[in-house]
Structure formats: C-alpha cells, structure tokens
C-alpha cells in the first residue's frame, strides 16, 4: 500500500470529529482494532448487548454518533476489562464504552438503558449527600423510581435481618471537600 492510500484510509476511518473526540476522551487508539472478535467472545454480557464491542468501535470510526450513543452496549458494559485483556492490540475497550456513556449523558440523547443510568445517579446522589454510598437508600430510591416494591422484597428483608443493609449511612465529616469534587465543572 502506498503512503497516500494509507493516509486516505486513516482519514476515512478516524477523520470524523466524533471519532477524534472519543479517542481523546478514552485515551486509547481503537483504530488498532482489526475486528478479531476476541472482545465480544470474552465479554460476559455480550448476549445482552445490541452491538458487540468491536461493532461499537466500527460505528465510532464511521462517525455514526447517534447509533453509538443510543446503544445499550455502552451501559451494559460493567468495565470488567475482560475484553481489553484479551484484545491482541491492547485497545482499552472499557475506556471507550465509558467515554461514550459520558458523552451520551452530556449530549442528552435517549439513553437505551435508563434503569442503569438511574442506578448510577442514585449511587452518586448518596455520595453527594454523605460522601459515601448508602445502599439501602440507593435501593429504596431505585425501587421507588421503578414502582417495583416486590421483586427484591424477600432478599431485602433477609439482608436487613442479617444486618447487611445499614439503616443509617456511613458519613464523611468534611462534606465541603467532597462537594468540591462535584462542583469542579462549575469551578473550572
């Protein structure tokens, strides 16, 4: 392949502003991906995804922003890093999916997994209030949002009985320092 052809291909695959932004945020060169499917093969939750990890990378390269940001895959990914460990080109795939989640939130697209996002928000709400997570409150607020009080009632009661769910939160005393972490954006 001549140098020119090579550059043309690089330009097509990585030239979109979207691909550039994802690469910059994720801090990994996903253009090294040659679609060997090791990532999807090793992913414990690929069955629940609408696109396999390498397909997400391909869509990013092609600049198909809406499909990617509105995909369920980026939210199903729990960041177990199985994919990146198996990737022969060492692409940090979970850094890509998480960068995409953040862009989906910032751009206010229709999130394909609103329940997962809601859970993350409730976790962070308790951190904002107490400096630490408070599992009982996270669960109650999540169940309230789902209007589902029964599915986990049995296990919840069992956890309370075994003192696995604390009624009161564990707290940080210097909360203004924690709030600083939440207010960085405004503070610049």
């Amino acid at each position: 392949m001549t140098k020119n052809q090579n550059e043309t291909i690089t330009e097509i695959y990585t030239g979109s502003d979207f691909a550039k932004e994802v690469k910059q945020r994720a801090g990994t060169d996903f253009n090294a991906c040659y679609h060997c499917l090791s990532c999807g093969g090793g992913c414990p939750f690929s069955e629940a995804m609408d696109y396999l990890p390498n397909q997400i990378i391909r869509l990013v390269q092609l600049g198909r922003k809406k499909e990617v940001l509105e995909s369920s895959s980026i939210w199903i990914c729990v960041g177990c890093n199985n994919c990146s460990v198996q990737c022969p080109n060492s692409v940090d795939i979970s850094a890509v999916t998480h960068a995409l989640c953040q862009m989906a939130v910032e751009e206010k697209v229709t999130v394909a997994e609103p329940d997962i996002l809601k859970f993350h928000q409730e976790v962070l709400n308790t951190v904002h209030r107490y400096g630490r997570t408070h599992k009982l409150e996270i669960m109650l607020r999540y169940k309230f949002y789902k209007k589902d009080w029964f599915s986990d009632m049995g296990v919840g009661m069992k956890m309370l009985a075994r003192r696995k769910l604390e009624l009161l939160p564990s707290r940080v005393t210097q909360m203004k320092d924690v709030k600083f972490a939440f207010n960085q954006k405004q503070a610049g």
Binding site: P44, V85, S170
Partner: protein, 284 residues
C-alpha cells in the same frame, strides 16, 4: 519465630467493607493484627467514585479519588482491599502523577504537593509478603479437609494503563493450600459477577451466579473463596438455587487459619450460612 517488625499501613476500607461487608473488614483487621500489620484507617475517607462516577463523570471520579489520595500519609503505603476501589484510586494516582495541569489544579485546592511516590497496596500483595513467614508448623494443617474453589472475579483483569501492576493469579490457591486446604478446579475463577447489573438487570446476574454456584457444587467444593466484597454479595443475593454453596471472604478463611477468635459476628451476616461447613471442618 523470627518475624518482620510491625508495619504501619494506612487503610482505606471503602463503602462496601464499611457497611454491607463488615465481616470482610473485621476479619481483615483481626488478621492484620495477628501478622504484625498496624492499620491506621484513613481519616474521613470518602467513596472512591466507584463504577458509577467512572461511568458517567470522569472529573467527578478523579475528584473523589483524589481527595483520598491527598489525605494519605506520605510515609506509609495505602492499603485497599476492594478490587474496584483500588482500580479507581490507582487510575487517579496515575493521572495525578502524569498530568501536570491536573495535578497543579488539585495541589492548589489541597494546598500541598501531591505525593507521586505514594504506594497503593492491595490486600493480596500484603498477604503475599507477610503470610509466608507466619506459615509455621502450628498453622500448616489448620485448613486440612477444607475443599474450596477460588473466585477472583474481574480482579485479575486490569485496565490497559495498569497492566504493569502486580497480578494475583493463583495467590489464593498458593496461600490456602499452604495452610492445608485443597483447591479444586472450576470454570469460573475469573468470571465477572456482573457488579451493578445486579440492581438494574438482575436476571443477567442471576443466570451467571446460578451457573457458578452449580459448578462449584458439582466440583464438590465446601465453599467459594472470594477476593471481592461486591462479588461476595452478588453470589449470595442473586443465587436462586435451593442449595447454594457458602461463600467466604479470603480474609475470613485466613483469620480462621490463624486462630483469630473474635469471629462471632462475621458468619451470622452471611446470607448463605457457612457455619455448618466450618463446624464440620472443626474451624469454628
């Protein structure tokens, strides 16, 4: 026995060990006392940012982890037992060490220079260093007859930028077989437990957990030994099989091997009661 001098270590428990997995925290503290490690809890520590900040807000994840890192004493390592917390803290440490602009911003806020030499130590690393010298005759047979399957979950995977950190593959087997226990082979040692999907997509987690429990039972294991408090909870909470295999934290079983006596409140906190098995093996 000639043993190393007492070692001072800062300790970051993290939200799980401080609340839902208190038995993990208590057994770890007791065990450390037993093997000459003085834990000094990081004063007023906060949540590491967890998977949630990592998923939705990078700056928040860094800011939360950074507060803990800036508070850590410069003259001793920072011990972390939760595999998720340590990834969050190590990634933040890496960013603060490499990104001058970011470091400057936080140094201004915290009004002190960032300690780029801070050593963030995982509980497993500490065990690998300290346990062998305490493995004298008196403990070598302690776990005899106990058959276990090791469960590392995603802990053996690391994000690419942390590739050079120590890998703990086989460490639980090495230490526990040294104490007389028998490690059994199974297919799920490094299977991800599903972490937060347990709340929003419980059916996905139940399917994985049931397969794991079933395989553990078929191998004839008395118990599953876990490295992570989150894995421990998912295994117990999301299993729907009639006879689940008891799940023990690595710190709990080590404490039993080292004759820690104050374990009354640990096992009653498990959803799958491990006491019948432990009693039958004369461990409690």
């Amino acid at each position: 026995m000639n043993t190393s001098p007492i070692m001072d270590v800062s300790y970051f428990p993290g939200c799980s060990l401080a609340t839902t997995a208190k038995e993990n925290d208590h057994s770890l503290r007791e065990l450390c006392r037993r093997i000459g490690v003085n834990l000094v809890e990081l004063d007023d520590w906060n949540c590491c940012g967890s998977s949630s900040a990592y998923a939705v807000d990078h700056d928040l994840a860094l800011g939360l982890a950074a507060r803990n890192l800036f508070m850590a004493s410069p003259d001793r390592p920072l011990l972390v037992a939760c595999p998720n917390c340590i990834i969050r803290l190590r990634l933040a440490h890496q960013e603060l060490s490499r990104n001058e602009l970011m470091r400057y911003r936080f140094e201004k806020k915290w009004d002190k220079p960032y300690n780029r030499d801070l050593k963030i130590l995982h509980f497993f690393e500490l065990m690998e260093n300290r346990i062998p010298e305490y493995m004298g005759k008196e403990v070598s047979e302690k776990l005899k007859q106990l058959k276990f399957v090791p469960y590392y979950g995603c802990m053996l995977n690391r994000p690419n930028t942390l590739r050079n950190e120590k890998n703990y593959k086989g460490l639980m087997e090495k230490i526990l077989t040294g104490l007389g226990a028998q490690a059994l082979d199974w297919s799920f040692a490094s299977q991800c437990c599903g972490t937060f999907l347990s709340v929003a997509r419980p059916e996905l987690v139940t399917s994985i957990v049931n397969r794991m429990m079933d395989d553990a039972a078929k191998t004839g294991a008395d118990c599953i030994i876990t490295a992570c408090a989150m894995c421990h909870m998912n295994l117990e909470v999301r299993c729907t099989l009639k006879q689940p295999v008891p799940v023990l934290h690595f710190s709990e079983i080590l404490s039993l091997a080292f004759d820690v006596e104050s374990h009354n409140n640990w096992f009653s906190r498990h959803l799958v009661d491990p006491r019948p098995v432990l009693k039958s093996r004369a461990l409690i």
